[in-house]
Symmetry: C2
Subunit: 405 residues, 2 copies
């Protein structure tokens, strides 16, 4: 098993090591929660200060034109596109993941009658959006287990919302296989890539994905609640009509026409005025990803995972690994099941190791290669083993509370 | 007619004059566009720096719990409520005005069959949202002129989206009369108060309004694209089900249940994770309004309007006032029609007077009493008269472009 010295030697030779300096990460923390909220990029405060004091403060309303505010959703979408293997004009940064799921499921349901389907183990918002869309449209709603998904993509299904990397276990669905099953049955698939983008290499056109959504505050470093994005393959854009038909998605927004005419292209999925401070903050985090080699990121993620999993198996067999070992079957976080998972996470935070809890019974740790090293994982696993084995997690001050994805 | 000396004497005696120092307004500008984007409150940059560097940078994911991020939409809604005459728990700050209109029109349409109605002269997003909601629900859509509105609120109408203060002309609808007509026909009214809140005193319960939306970047000083808000009277909340059923609106968001159960109260109208930097910036602007006497604001707005209208009538009769003279029939901006309105606005901007253009043919000026004085209006009207009469607006460099509300 790797020693701390060997772990530190790997960090010294890490081709991604220069990225850590781009984040303002407190030195005393081992932050294993970048899959929930990425740390602050060092470039963000200065950019935001410029946006606030110069663009808003001095440029005032003219900044909508002169500072590129109006174009930001499309411009930032074009910067997200390469991380999906998508082309310019296929992605727009806007609204929330929930709202974007709603737009796509309602638009796609119009293409074919039939049921609306969601996975039981999706992040809950995905199932909620799907079930209420079905209710609105008077369609059957089906909530199925991930394992049954391929069979459930039947000819009487209209649209399915599926998650690529599961938010609890990091289990990764087989995108190619599920898209093929959906194609055979004429089902439109909408993929939630919130835990995939910036974590695993993606090539949506190659893998047959034509609709997807995701957030930008996890592996895209966008900041708390930063606007989400949606992807629609070019050839499908003209067939889809957004339900939330706001003026930003109009063909001629500055003609102020009372009649709604959807814009050509991806802009039709915009609706209202976008939150510029949050959106331009997200752009800094997304800019940081432009130079990143996603293959190198994924290879390092695999190695960090193996170090973490191996050490926990050796040091602390009481923890049950619930994330698949096979890299092809998972994303970039690692989760363990334990009856005391909530208290374990709280005790770890006290010791400077930040992971998070997901009900029921899951301790979850993000492996984010841009700002985490092998030494971090080596130390975190030692502290985790100590917390579990010492039973400090039974302390009543670690009572159940809540966390945010 | 008031002299410049008299105007400056009124500024010196103005009970609201201390508010101007709370805004970071460039000294060389007369900013008559706060009804589109309010200037930067001086407190905003420091607060945002704290949010970014301390709460995000150091607090990281824990700030969702420890820095009050999760509660922000409800907390800020409760600060908006007094400006509407609403009670705590009746307003939430979230998403965009367009998305909030969509939520309310879809939810309200479920209460009664029948047509969905919008005003032709609404800001376009209102009509777009209404027409596409009607399409989705298979309901008739009616687009009616504001003058015909009271008659159009017939028994076969389900929901109407109406604007209180018109974005072009500032004409103010008679809220009491229209609500009474709607009540007689069983029509649910949704009021767009984007150009009303913070501009005119409002008392929604008194005036019979039970559903409303609005933005926070105009008279609430929230910053570019700051999240919007929605109001639902307490007694109606339990009857309405949002179409965009995201996890933030769930009865138990941290139980991660697959089945959707709407939260009690106003929280049910939340959906996805909110853009914290933009939302917490908005809170600074809204905090600034907490001490403001809206009666004093409105009285000063009336006086500023009268000064501007009187001087333009005297100096430049070529401009046609399209805003009603009667204060009871208008909001807090003033609009003039002129064939050269677009070029007039561009020429004014070159001379340090910022207004905006609204197609077709309207030059629009916001009268925002917290940071504008009588001296400003006196000077702006002199410059406007000079621009119009000199015909500098005919210069070809002032060709048609665009502006943002």
């Amino acid at each position: 098993m790797m020693t701390l010295q060997e772990a530190e030697a790997r960090d010294a030779a890490d081709p991604l090591k220069s990225y850590r300096a781009l984040f303002d990460l407190p030195a005393e923390l081992i932050y294993l929660d970048g899959n929930s909220l990425a740390p602050l990029p060092r470039a963000t405060p200065e950019r935001l200060q410029g946006v606030v004091s110069e663009e808003w403060g001095k440029g005032l309303v003219g900044s909508w034109n002169h500072a590129g505010w109006w174009e930001a959703p499309i411009r930032i979408g074009n910067k997200i596109a390469p991380l999906l293997g998508a082309r310019p004009g296929e992605v727009v940064a806007t609204d929330t993941t929930s709202a974007n799921l709603f737009k796509l499921v309602m638009a796609a349901a119009a293409l074919k009658p039939g049921a609306i389907l969601a996975e039981r183990d999706n992040f809950p918002t995905d199932a909620h959006i799907a079930s209420e869309a079905a209710r609105l449209l008077g369609r059957p709603f089906r909530l199925v287990d991930g394992a049954d998904l391929a069979d459930a993509l039947a000819t009487d299904v209209s649209v399915a919302i599926v998650t690529h990397v599961n938010y609890r276990t990091a289990a990764r669905a087989d995108m190619v296989k599920l898209n093929a099953a959906a194609d055979r049955s004429g089902v439109t698939m909408i993929w939630d890539l919130s835990h995939s983008i910036g974590a695993v290499p993606l090539d949506l056109p190659r893998d047959g994905t034509r609709l997807a959504v995701g957030c930008s505050y996890k592996y895209l470093n966008g900041g708390p609640g930063a606007p989400a994005w949606l992807y629609v393959a070019s050839d499908l854009q003209g067939d889809l009509r957004t339900p939330i038909a706001g003026w930003w998605g109009h063909a001629a927004p500055f003609a102020f026409e009372a009649e709604y005419r959807p814009a050509d292209g991806i802009a039709r999925f915009l609706s209202g005025t976008q939150p510029m401070l949050s959106l331009l903050s997200a752009e800094v985090g997304i800019d940081l990803m432009q130079s990143v080699d996603m293959v190198a990121v994924w290879e390092k993620s695999i190695a960090l995972f193996e170090l973490f999993a191996d050490r926990m198996a050796a040091l602390c067999p009481e923890l049950t690994l619930v994330t698949p070992r096979d890299p092809a079957k998972r994303g970039s976080h690692i989760s363990f099941q334990h009856e005391g998972a909530y208290g374990i996470i709280q005790a770890l935070i006290e010791r400077g190791v930040v992971g998070d809890y997901r009900a029921p019974g899951i301790a979850r740790f993000g492996l984010t290669p841009l700002y985490l090293g092998f030494g971090d994982i080596w130390r975190a696993s030692a502290i985790l083993a100590d917390v579990v084995r010492s039973e400090v997690w039974k302390d009543p001050r670690f009572a159940t509370s809540r966390t945010v994805t």
